[in-house]
């Protein structure tokens, strides 16, 4: 078939439109996630446990790490850290618990989402153990102490001596149901 110039233009323009639609899903979304990982943008921490590397504890510095627990709108669990702050040397493990209780009579699933401020410290706050790595199912009226272990990196920029690690607890029961239904 002979393609006249107009047909070629139309094919090119249509292909561009289709490519831009794909660009949103397969370029913009992954690129944004990678950017957040690399830069610590939005204070998003690594969603996987940190593999400890043997390193000397830097006793010359003491870092205060503060903890916040917030419920997202519509989440009714009790949620609070066992201590509000710990003081650690870089390289040293700090551990504490977060208490949760499901006051409702229903089985629910929660997911805690961490965020670190200041942003530039995000990549220097490591978690070797965290309840945020997986979702947390709780039966009605069940309560639980969830462990958290953190290490502040020795390379934390010198001007930072206080970090805030904040958790927001989401009710993902319904989203999980939709996911199962969609499968």
């Amino acid at each position: 078939m002979q393609l006249n110039p107009a047909h070629k233009t139309i094919i090119k323009a249509t292909a561009t439109a289709v490519a831009m639609f794909a660009f949103v899903f397969w370029v913009m979304v992954p690129l944004y996630n990678v950017l957040c990982q690399v830069t610590g943008l939005n204070g998003k921490t690594d969603p996987n446990p940190y593999k400890t590397v043997p390193a000397a504890v830097d006793t010359s510095r003491t870092i205060t790490v503060q903890f916040l627990a917030t419920n997202n709108k519509g989440m009714n669990w009790d949620f609070k850290p066992s201590v509000h702050q710990v003081k650690v040397h870089p390289g040293e493990v700090g551990s504490l618990n977060f208490y949760v209780r499901n006051p409702s009579g229903k089985n629910m699933v929660g997911q805690a989402i961490p965020s670190v401020t200041p942003f530039e410290a995000t990549d220097y706050l490591h978690k070797t153990e965290c309840f945020c790595f997986t979702s947390q199912p709780l039966e009605g009226h069940e309560e639980k102490d969830m462990p958290l272990k953190i290490i502040v990196d020795q390379d934390l920029p010198k001007h930072i001596n206080k970090l805030t690690l904040s958790y927001t607890l989401f009710d993902i029961t319904e989203m999980n149901n939709k996911r199962t239904a969609a499968r």
Binding site: A6, A13, F119, M175, N177
Partner: protein, 532 residues
């Protein structure tokens, strides 16, 4: 050269070249004629303008006094949301597509658009899309209430059930716009008369060519973002849900990657219209034609790298704030070139102020004010104060009302004699201009002041100290609104009759469209004209 070698796509029947349109309703349903479709776009856009305007009247009536008088906050939110959506997607964009349909083939000496049948489709999708959108107002839980920017999670987790229909409506609008844009590109690149080189094209054609590229680049992004919302709402994905590993801020990035080019989609064709009209009534050629083309192209390019200036307060790193601040300020350079060229065209010209020229001059002055408030907003540290206040509302209404809409009025008054074969009532049209001019400034100028003083947008009530300025804005709004009924009357009167228009009713006008008689015959340039 024959029709075939210039690349006309034969998906409609050319054999009836000389007779007029068929009669009756089916003419409009089945038409593939660019003039018919252009007229339908214009009428549809005007209907949407009145509907979106009626919603603005509800907003201004509620804000006439502090306190809650007329509507509930929930309904107020639906009004601000629908007003924005209808004005952007229903009024401004279709109006420019209508102008493109009518004028581009006539300006480049083409017999019709390149894809007449698809043209029919892209128009007829729109009434269904907007019927669906407006019907959400009557559904349980009401219509969209999350602002025209529909930020997640407001538009996902906390949205009314009707949001699914809103999403489908946006999909349909997107398909319509993309088809329209493909048509414009195919027409301009392939159907130009022999001798009509790219750098001889009228500026309106140039601006539309670039706009069409913006449309095919970003309307799919809009479709993508609403599709992600749809999946989050119904299929348990978590693009924008932090609880599932997503990020609501991602929504804002994707939305504004569409949204900023979108504002140029609404303003570049306006630049084109004004660049046709100012030379005609200055009786001088456009100053700096080539620089105008390059300015439009660079504005279009820059529009892709400034989106985060809408997000200065969501928490982006300092380098990001600085980059997006300077990139945004850079847009003032090509825009300044354009304003300079329009003024230079008028400088020492033999100026007359017929209605199209009045609207065009008002465009230059008032759009520049909107541009300056945009520059103020682009300063990241200052934006922390202006963000989400009425200052932003004042800014974008100054670029859209006396920008996009005045340019549409100017274009209609410029080409109406060509479309109808009649001259309109010049006196009444000047009343329309002055009432619109005064009404519009009364409405939006005080918003700068209340915005700087901290009045938040999208709230049905306000603190007492804002009362006087809001009352003035409401009075101006009512004045502007009522005046548009006069415009309807002027256009209907002109369609029905009036002094006969000559082929070229404006002595200073140039271009192929003025070579055909008025009204333009149903088929024009079936044999391409010779362009010197």
């Amino acid at each position: 050269m024959t029709d075939q070698t210039i690349g006309h796509v034969n998906d409609h029947d050319d054999s009836h070249a000389d007779h007029g349109p068929p009669k009756g309703l089916m003419r409009w349903v089945l038409t593939t004629n660019h003039k018919d479709i252009g007229s339908m776009y214009m009428w549809f856009s005007f209907a949407m303008f009145l509907l979106g305007g009626a919603m603005a009247m509800v907003i201004r009536a509620e804000l006439f006094q502090p306190g809650l008088q007329l509507v509930q906050p929930e309904f107020f939110n639906q009004m601000t949301t629908m007003h924005g959506l209808i004005m952007v997607f229903g009024a401004v964009m279709p109006a420019f597509v209508g102008l493109a349909n009518w004028m581009i083939p006539m300006m480049i000496g083409a017999p019709d658009m390149a894809l007449p049948r698809m043209n029919n489709w892209s128009f007829w999708i729109l009434p269904f899309a907007f019927a669906l959108l407006v019907s959400t107002l009557f559904m349980e839980g009401g219509g969209p209430n999350f602002g025209w920017t529909f930020y997640a999670p407001l538009s996902t987790d906390y949205a009314p059930p009707s949001t699914t229909f809103f999403i489908f409506a946006v999909h349909m609008m997107g398909v319509s716009s993309i088809m329209g844009a493909i048509n414009v590109i195919a027409t301009i690149l392939n159907l130009r008369a022999p001798g009509m080189t790219l750098m001889k094209m009228p500026l309106f054609v140039w601006t539309w060519l670039i706009t069409a590229y913006l449309l095919i680049a970003v309307m799919p992004v809009l479709a993508g973002v609403v599709t992600m919302m749809l999946m989050d709402i119904h299929f348990g994905t978590a693009f924008f849900n932090a609880g599932g590993g997503g990020d609501p801020v991602l929504f804002q990035h994707v939305f504004w990657f569409f949204g900023h080019p979108e504002v140029y989609i609404m303003i570049l064709p306006a630049f084109g219209v004004v660049s046709q009209i100012i030379p005609a009534f200055s009786r001088k050629p456009l100053f700096g034609y080539t620089s105008m083309v390059y300015a439009v192209a660079s504005i279009a390019f820059l529009s892709f790298i400034v989106w985060a200036h809408h997000m200065f307060t969501v928490g982006i790193p300092l380098v990001g704030e600085v980059f997006f601040m300077y990139a945004t300020m850079l847009i003032a350079v090509p825009t300044g070139v354009k304003v300079f060229n329009w003024v230079a065209t008028m400088f020492r010209g033999a100026l007359t102020f017929e209605t199209p020229m009045l609207f065009a001059v008002a465009f230059v002055v008032l759009f520049t004010i909107g541009g300056f408030s945009g520059l103020m907003l682009s300063i990241a540290p200052a934006d922390f104060q202006y963000h989400d206040t009425y200052f932003v509302v004042a800014h974008f209404h100054y670029v859209l009302v006396p920008g996009a809409i005045f340019a549409i009025f100017a274009g209609v008054y410029y080409w109406l004699p060509k479309w109808t074969g009649h001259m309109y009532d010049a006196g009444l049209s000047k009343v329309h201009f002055w009432m619109s001019f005064i009404g519009m400034n009364l409405t939006f100028f005080p918003m700068h002041f209340v915005g700087l003083a901290g009045m938040p947008r999208r709230i049905p009530d306000y603190a007492l100290q804002f009362a006087d300025f809001n009352m003035i804005a409401s009075i101006g709004g009512f004045m502007f609104g009522v005046t548009q009924l006069l415009f309807l009357f002027i256009v209907i009167k002109c369609v029905k009759g009036g002094p006969k228009a000559e082929a070229k009713p404006w002595e200073g006008a140039h271009g192929l469209e003025w070579m055909v008689p008025s009204p333009a015959p149903y088929h024009t340039f079936t044999t391409p004209p010779d362009v010197k």
